[in-house]
Amino acid sequence: MKKIIELKNISKAFDGETVLDNISLDIYDNEFVTLLGPSGCGKTTTLRLIGGFEYPDEGDVVFMGERINDTPPHKRNVNTVFQKYALFPHLNVFENVAFPLHERKLPKAEIKEKVDQMLSLVMLSGFAQRSVTSLSGGQQQRVAIARALINHPKVLLLDEPLGALDLKLRKDMQQELKKIQKSTGITFIFVTHDQEEAMSMSDTVVVMSEGKIQQIGTPQDIYNEPVNAFVADFIGESNIVDGVMLEDKKVKFAGHIFDCLDTGFEKNEAVDVVIRPEDVDIVPEDKGMLCGTVTSVTFMGVHYEIIVDIKGFKWMIQTTDGVEVDAKIGIYLEPDAIHIMKKSKYSGMFGDYSSFSNELDELSNPGGEDEE
C-alpha cells in the first residue's frame, strides 16, 4: 500500500496551549481513516493541518512524498467537507457544486456534465436550481460532499459531517459515504467523536486524547485489544478493574484468580483488566466466580443494562435475562472475556459505573480534591 499522507512529529499550540503533542501518523491510499476522540483531543486540528488551514509549529506534513507544510489550501490536492457544510448561501445547488470548476475555468458544457454526474452520485439530480438555504440538513450534506468531490481530490477530509443529522439519516449517510469512498477510491479522513460511527465506517481508527495518538488500528483491534483505559472506555462500554498478573495467563482481581489469554507481563505486575459488559455471564450466586448485588436495571430494547455492585465496584453487565434490582447474582468470565492492559496515566480514571460520565463525577465531586 502506498503512503499518501505522512504526519511526522507534529506539534501545535494555540496561545501557549498544546493542542497536538508530537503526533506521527501515516495514511495510505484508498483508506478510510477515522480520527476519533472527545472534543479538544486535537482531531480537528490534525485535519486542518492536512487541509492547509493551520501550519504545524514543529514537524512536517508530507503529501505523496512532498513536504507541504507551507502550501496554501488552494494548491493542495485535498478537499474538505466542513462541519455544518459551509455552503455558499448566495449560490444555488448547481453553482455550489460547480464552484471549483469555475475556478479552473472549464468550458460550460464540461462543467454541466460533471456537476450533473456528481449530483446524481449524491442522489440530488433535480435539485440543481434549488437554493441551498431551502434544503434539509441531509440534502445540504450531500451538496457539501458533491462540491468537495468534484475536483477528484486524492484525499477527502470530513470534519464531523454527520453531527447535525438525526440518527436514522446518519446511519444512511454512513453507508453512503462508505459506498462513495469505495467507488471513487479516494482516501477519506473522517473526524468524529462518535465511536459507533468510527467503528462502522473505518478501515483504520486513530484514537486521540489530549493531543496525543493513543492507538491506531482496525476497529476490531481497537475494540478487542485496547492499549489503555482511555481507549477501552472511549470505545464501547467497559468495566476496568485493578488487577495483578500472577504469571502468564493467570490474573487476580476482585479477590479471585482468573484464567486469561494474555502473556508477556512481569510476575505480579499491576495491570488494568478490561471486561466488556456483553462478555459477562450471569449465573446463580453459588456458581459465580464473583458475587454481587444488582443496583439498577435499565431496559435498552435489545438487552438489559444492569449495574452490579461487586465488593464496592460497580460493574456494567449487558444481558438478555431479566434480573430484579437487589437480587444477588453470580458472574462467570470465560478466559477470552478478559483483556489485560499495562497501567497508564489513564488507569483508575475510567471503567467504574457509579456514574456514566466523567462530567457527573465532577459535578457530584466539585473541586475533586477528595480523589487521590
Binding site: 488551514f53 466542513f82 464552484f99 438555504t133 475536483n151
Partner: protein, 288 residues
C-alpha cells in the same frame, strides 16, 4: 398578554410618529410642487425644472444655452457619485479589517469612526475650510517643504473631500455590520475549493457583502446629492448643486418651485434605488 399589548402600543406610536413626521411632510411637498401661489393645481413647477434655460459661458468665452436645472442635477449627481465611489473604495477594506480584528480593536475602530459624527456637521465643514484654504494647514505644511501652494478650496476636489468626510461613517457602518456577520468558514471553503485570496474576495466576500454595499451606497449617495452646505463652503459657491437650488428657491420664498425640485429629486432617487434593488435581487441572499 401585557407584553403583547405594549407591543401593539409601540407599533401604534410608531405609526403615528411616522405619519406625522414622514408622510405628512411628503404630502405637503407634493401638494406644494403641484400648486401655484394661489394653491390651484399646476404642473408648471415641474415643467420649469426640465425646460428652464440659461446661458453658460464656457472657459473659451463661447456662450451656450443650457437647461439650467438638468445641468445642476447632473453636476450634483457627478460629484455625489465620485464621493460615493471613493467612500466605497476606502470604506470596503477598512470595514473588512474592522470585521476581522479582535473584539477590542473592533470597538476602538468603531469609536474612531463614530466620533466625528458627534460633532456638528457645520463645524466639521468649517474645519475642512481651514485645512484646505490657500493659507490653511495643508499649504502651511507643504509650503515649509518648499512645495505648493496647492489651490484646493473652491475646487471640485474640495467639495468631494467634504462629502466623503461627512458621509463616510454611513458607508462604513452597513459594510462593517454585514462583514462582521459573515461566516469565516465560507472563506475557508472557498480556499479549499481552489480560490486564492483574490478569488475568495471576488467570489464569496463581495457577493455576500452586496446588501451592505447597496445600503452604504444609498446612505452616502442620497445625502451627497442633496447637500448644499458643503458645496457653498468648500466650493466657494462655484458649484451650484441641486441642494443649493432648493435652498435658493426656498430662501427667495419660492416655496412651490423649491418643493417641485425636491419632489423630482426624490422621484429620481426612488426610481434609481428600485432599479438597483431589482438588478441585485438575484445576488442578494436572504438567509440568516
Amino acid at each position: 398578554m401585557r407584553k403583547k399589548h405594549s407591543g401593539r402600543l409601540a407599533i401604534t406610536q410608531y405609526s403615528v410618529w411616522s405619519f406625522l413626521f414622514v408622510v405628512v411632510p411628503l404630502i405637503f411637498i407634493a401638494y406644494y410642487a403641484f400648486t401655484d401661489n394661489n394653491f390651484s393645481f399646476t404642473t408648471e413647477n415641474i415643467t420649469r425644472f426640465f425646460t428652464a434655460t440659461s446661458n453658460l459661458t464656457e472657459d473659451d468665452g463661447t456662450v451656450r444655452e443650457v437647461r439650467t436645472y438638468i445641468l445642476i442635477f447632473m453636476r450634483s449627481l457627478k460629484l455625489a457619485a465620485i464621493s460615493t465611489a471613493i467612500s466605497l473604495l476606502l470604506g470596503y477594506p477598512i470595514a473588512y479589517i474592522m470585521a476581522r480584528a479582535s473584539e477590542k480593536a473592533q470597538k476602538t475602530m468603531m469609536t474612531l469612526v463614530m466620533i466625528p459624527m458627534w460633532m456638528n456637521f457645520l463645524i466639521r465643514t468649517y474645519a475642512w475650510m481651514t485645512i484646505l484654504q490657500d493659507t490653511g494647514i495643508i499649504n502651511g505644511i507643504i509650503g515649509k517643504l518648499g512645495i505648493g501652494p496647492l489651490h484646493m478650496i473652491g475646487t471640485e476636489t474640495a467639495v468631494v473631500i467634504g462629502m466623503v468626510y461627512d458621509y463616510f461613517p454611513y458607508m462604513i457602518l452597513p459594510l462593517y455590520s454585514i462583514m462582521a456577520k459573515m461566516d469565516t468558514r465560507l472563506f475557508e471553503a472557498a480556499r479549499d475549493l481552489g480560490c486564492n485570496s483574490f478569488g475568495v474576495l471576488r467570489r464569496v466576500i463581495f457577493p455576500l457583502s452586496l446588501p451592505g454595499v447597496i445600503s452604504g451606497v444609498t446612505m452616502v449617495l442620497i445625502p451627497s446629492i442633496s447637500t448644499f452646505y458643503i458645496s457653498q463652503k468648500l466650493g466657494n459657491g462655484k458649484f451650484f448643486l441641486i441642494g443649493d437650488a432648493i435652498e435658493g428657491q426656498y430662501v427667495a420664498n419660492n416655496l412651490h418651485f423649491a418643493a417641485a425640485i425636491a419632489f423630482i429629486l426624490m422621484v429620481i432617487l426612488l426610481v434609481c434605488m428600485a432599479l438597483v434593488k431589482y438588478f441585485t435581487a438575484k445576488h442578494v441572499y436572504g438567509g440568516e
